[in-house]
């Protein structure tokens, strides 16, 4: 893998050459096929930073997230969180991993157990992690609720007594309760409507600032991504096709897929003559190569991807190309 | 009324929901016996009126002086359904087949007194030496004991099969000498027969064209079918007996007979406290059997005096049974050293007239006599296994008590195994002596007298609570004639003598 600039020392999350393949059976004849959901993804998140992973539906974002959380064993590749491997012989157990990284899921409705009060959902993990004193647990639950802008009294309520935005806050509180330094956000706002979305984004930014959290945020909403991330990785058909600092990616998108994503975002700003109405012209790929994979011909993920490399085109900006 | 020929009779086989095999030598089930009697004949036949065996397949017999050798002059007019004429070979074939250990025939008991039986069973011979063919129609049989062989050889269980047919096919394609020829077996539903024209009986017999034996284990279903005139004959349980008696029409067609069965609660006479005869007597005194018979059995039984039933030649008409006397029962118990009473656990099956319901009824009665009875209901197969295996304190059952009283007395002989039929492990030197004497006695009246004496001792010793002798009841449609009360088993009729008149339903009446 290519060495990324390393300003703040060791990365908190490092994903190297991650592959996830699913066996699926298709058709009447029951022939087995292999789905290459994730094919060679490298990522690293520096402490206190937010890396966003964008890409269309089904390109492998969630699979990557699940792999990082230890919920989806990879076919190959290595994942380390705070220097400790997630899989393999030296991996900490489920409970120890829980204190390293946490995840917030996309759908605020299904992420909370409808039969469990919020207080219980938050204090159970504490108990599990050795917080014996009831008072201390209550105290930490209250703190977590306050951190996400809810009231300690809310602990006694059931999830269905909350609105979608509030539930997403509870989801975040639950992710915070064990004090992890890395939080994976799998489309944390895409199910919410505009006004609530803003609340959550604000909340996430506040928390990052106050607690020094690192985020891996997954989204396909570029408006949100541009707003919160430090670095952006664009994913397409199981591979990273463009990666760099947010400014590089948004002001000078190189890969045709990234450009298309930005182009197609419906944006009221367009109506009112906002800034990014016209994208800057696309940079040329390095000579002797083409941007890869081509967007008009979507790669078949039941085949292994054709060989290609991520090539640096700027100081902190890399794009996937293929030699011709 | 004049006998009419033709028509179809729908007879019922009321015990269980199927006929197993059609080969009666491989089965001990009444269902099969009911069917077999239509197709097969044995050397002797049973005369229900005299209660004695009679010649059937032979015309004459001479007995040697020692009473061991019988020379039979066989019928010359008998023919099998496959047109083979009946000869001495067929008898020899049939008996040897039963004796062969490979057939594991439950009928073997009945021919075990023929000379050479043990050798065949032991495997040292393939044919019994006691069977000797003199000519085609003369047969000589030698026995090991001088007991009358008629009772054994009249059994439906020892029929004569044709010697030119492989015995193993008898299970599905039976061939016999009887009045009806096998047509079809729908397992679990019915067995059908047609008249065998070559039957050796009187010329016009059998009267019926067709005979269907319907398998109907459910009394309620039998009741509906009988009332609906779909079956011509139905065997009744006690509840239906009462209902049919009360019905002005149905009550006209009831055939009752005192059957040779004694219903009892048996005790293991070696297990305390039942090793004490006073305890066993106490039980007998403690139960009001008449009340149970009246109320629960609806009068479909005769109160028992001793073991031998009223229809047995060894029955003692002067004997007195145990009267209902709870005080006496209590006193006897106290005398036997049980002033606080005893426990009486009874294993029972679900039979309404000799199973758990009866025990339920005696529980409150015995409790007045300080006997704490209880019932342990078990499946029939388990009941039989536990009784023959001796795994009980007491049991309630219905035991065969005829037709040959000597054979019945053998069940009280101390040398008879518990599993054979001495279920109570009864042992009394006086009864043993009387049994041995009766075995030797060739005069029938004297023999019966000895047996009667033994029965008296048994009554006194009370290895059983003597409950009742069964009254079998059969309901028949008004167009059915020629049924006879067979005290061995009412459902086994001489089908060749049954006829129906033209008031029968259209599809069955004689044309």
């Amino acid at each position: 893998m290519s060495a990324a600039p390393d300003p703040a020392g060791a990365p908190i999350l490092k994903v190297e050459d991650l592959h996830v393949r699913f066996p699926v059976s298709g058709g009447l004849l029951g022939r087995k096929r292999i789905l290459h959901a994730v094919s060679g993804v490298d990522l690293s998140v520096q402490p206190g930073q937010c890396l966003s992973l964008v890409g269309e539906s089904g390109c492998g974002k969630s699979t990557t997230a699940l792999a990082i959380m230890g919920l989806q064993p990879p076919s190959s590749g290595a994942i380390t969180v705070e220097g400790r491997p997630v899989y393999g012989p030296g991996a900490p157990d489920r409970r120890a991993r829980a204190r390293l990284a946490q995840i917030v899921f996309q759908d605020p409705f299904s992420t909370l157990n409808p039969r469990e009060t919020v207080g219980r959902a938050l204090s159970q993990p504490l108990m599990l992690h050795g917080v014996r004193s009831r008072a201390e647990r209550a105290e930490r639950v209250a703190t977590a609720l306050r951190q996400v802008g809810l009231l300690p009294e809310h602990a006694a309520r059931y999830p269905h007594e909350f609105s979608g935005g509030q539930r997403q806050r509870i989801g975040i509180a639950r992710a915070l309760i064990l004090g992890p330094r890395l939080i994976v956000l799998d489309e944390p706002v895409s199910a919410l409507d505009v006004s609530i979305r803003a609340q959550i984004i604000n909340l996430l930014m506040d928390l990052q600032q106050n607690l020094g959290l690192s985020y891996l945020m997954i989204s396909h909403d570029l408006g949100v991504v541009e707003h919160v991330s430090d670095r952006v990785a664009v994913m397409f058909a199981g591979q990273i096709v463009e990666e760099g600092g947010w400014r590089e990616v948004f002001t000078a998108p190189a890969h045709p897929y990234t450009r298309r994503l930005i182009e197609t975002i419906p944006n009221p700003a367009r109506l009112t003559g906002g800034a990014s109405e016209i994208l800057p012209p696309a940079p040329e790929p390095p000579s002797g190569s083409v941007f890869w994979p081509p967007v008009d011909r979507r790669p078949d993920i039941s085949q292994p991807p054709e060989p290609s490399v991520l090539m640096s085109i700027g100081e902190d900006h890399r794009v996937r190309v293929r030699k011709i | 009324q004049e006998v009419q020929r033709g028509g179809t009779l729908n007879f019922t086989a009321p015990y269980g929901s199927s006929v197993g095999t059609l080969d009666i030598t491989a089965s001990a089930e009444v269902q099969t016996e009911i069917v077999a009697h239509a197709m097969h004949r044995s050397l002797y036949k049973w005369n229900p009126e005299t209660g004695k065996p009679e010649p059937d397949l032979f015309t004459e017999v001479s007995v040697s002086d020692d009473g061991l050798t019988y020379t039979y002059k066989l019928r010359s007019d008998a023919v099998f359904h496959n047109d083979k004429p009946f000869t001495a070979d067929d008898v020899i074939f049939s008996y040897n087949r039963i004796a062969t250990p490979a057939t594991a025939s439950p009928s073997a008991n009945f021919i075990s007194r023929i000379n050479g039986f043990d050798e065949v069973q032991g495997g040292s011979a393939t044919e019994m030496s006691g069977l000797k063919k003199i000519d085609d129609h003369t047969l000589e049989i030698t026995f090991t004991a001088s007991q009358d062989p008629g009772f054994d050889l009249m059994q439906n269980y020892v029929p004569i099969y044709p010697s030119n047919v492989d015995g193993s096919t008898q299970a599905t394609q039976p061939v016999g000498l009887g009045p009806f020829r096998f047509v079809e077996h729908v397992p679990g539903s019915r067995v059908s027969f047609e008249r065998f024209e070559g039957f050796f009986g009187q010329d016009d017999q059998p009267y019926l064209d067709r005979l269907n034996i319907m398998i109907m284990g459910e009394a309620a279903a039998r009741d509906v079918a009988f009332r609906n005139r779909e079956i011509d004959v139905s065997v009744l349980g006690s509840q239906q007996y009462q209902e049919y008696q009360a019905d002005p029409d149905l009550s006209k067609g009831l055939l009752e007979v005192a059957e040779l069965f004694t219903r009892v609660v048996g005790f293991d006479t070696t297990k305390p406290p039942f090793d004490d005869k006073r305890v066993r007597q106490a039980v007998n005194y403690g139960i009001d059997k008449q009340l149970i018979i009246d109320k629960l059995v609806k009068g479909k039984a005769f109160p028992a005096v001793g073991f031998m039933p009223t229809t047995s030649p060894a029955f003692d008409p002067n004997a007195q049974g145990y009267a209902y006397d709870p005080e006496k029962a209590k006193a006897l118990l106290a005398e036997a050293g049980h002033p606080d009473g005893i426990d009486l656990p009874v294993i029972a099956n679900q039979n309404e007239s000799w199973g758990a319901p009866i025990v339920e009824a005696i529980i409150p009665m015995l409790s007045k006599a300080n006997i704490r009875a209880s019932v342990e209901p078990v499946e029939n197969a388990v009941l039989e296994d536990r009784i023959t295996g001796g795994d009980f304190t007491s049991f309630i059952w219905s035991l065969s008590s005829g037709p040959d009283p000597l054979n019945i007395l053998r069940c009280f002989y101390s040398k008879t195994a518990q599993s054979a039929c001495n279920y109570t492990k009864f042992s009394n030197p006086e009864v043993d002596r009387l049994y041995e004497a009766a075995q030797q006695e060739r005069d029938e009246a004297k023999r019966n007298d000895l047996i009667r004496q033994a029965d008296g001792i048994i009554r006194e010793e009370a290895p059983y609570w003597f409950f009742n002798y069964n009254k079998a009841v059969m309901a028949y449609q008004p167009w059915v004639h020629g049924l006879k009360g067979n005290p061995q088993e009412l459902a086994i009729q001489d089908y060749d003598k049954i006829w129906i008149d033209d008031t029968a339903p259209a599809d069955r009446k004689p044309q």
Binding site: - | P187, G188, D385
Partner: protein
Amino acid sequence: MGRYVLRRLLQMIPTLLAVAALIFLIFSVLPGSFAGTMTGGGRRALSPELVAQINAQFGLDKPLPVRFWDYLVRLVQFDLGTSFRTREPVIDLIAARIWPSLQLALAAMTLAVTVGIPLGFLAAMRPGSLLDSVTMIGAVSGLSMPQFWLGLLLMYVFALQLGWLPSFGYGDGQLRNLILPAIALGFAPMALLARTTRAGVLEVMSSDHIRTAMAKGDSSAQMVRWHVVRNAMVLIVTTLGLQIGSLLGQALVIEKLFSWPGLGSLMVDSVAIRDIPVVQGTILVIVLWFLVINVLVDLVYAAIDPRISLR
């Protein structure tokens, strides 16, 4: 598809072996023995020699593992053994009963399907209506009625009172003999099907594509015909399959009551006298039937639901 069916059939083998082993085990710990029933219910004295002969003839004197092994060896040669009771090959006993048994099961199922499903549909079309309440309470009542009483009731009404049909027996396999036992047996599945159908139809009716159909301007009748029937079938087929599958084994009370020559009564009779080879055989056939129906159900699924692929 052929390969799929073959694979499914092969998969049945371990199940059948497990059944065989299970039954073997059950009957080895069950009290009561076949030889014991040879007393004919107190009629006959049982000689110890006979018991020994019978046990020797049927191999009952051998230790259990040996017997089981022998059984398996014969089983893989499609030999179900010999009945203790009739001493005939078990396969023959089953063969004699299988057609009447299937006849009864299929007739009962036909009744259940032709009455239960339409009733369920009608009830679902007007949920909360009088028809709905009456049908559903009727259906529940049908499930609350012991088969025996229902059978008896039918006999009384249709045979004795009305005289329309014979009350019992197989006759020569005519339809008239089949009707009453089929109704008695089919009543509970019918009730269950009516309920499942109602639930299934209601579920389909509340699904989004029905709203689409309504937005397209379909009338109720068109909607039911084009968009409900088939979709509801997907939900009904499971219940139907399980019902058909278990019907062979559930018919025993009815078979006994109506003197119907079916497998169920053969099984119960054989259990009662511990005729183990026959019990084994009948249960294996009943289980086989169940499994085959399961495969059929899956095939039917695949036929009506294009989303399902056979794996």
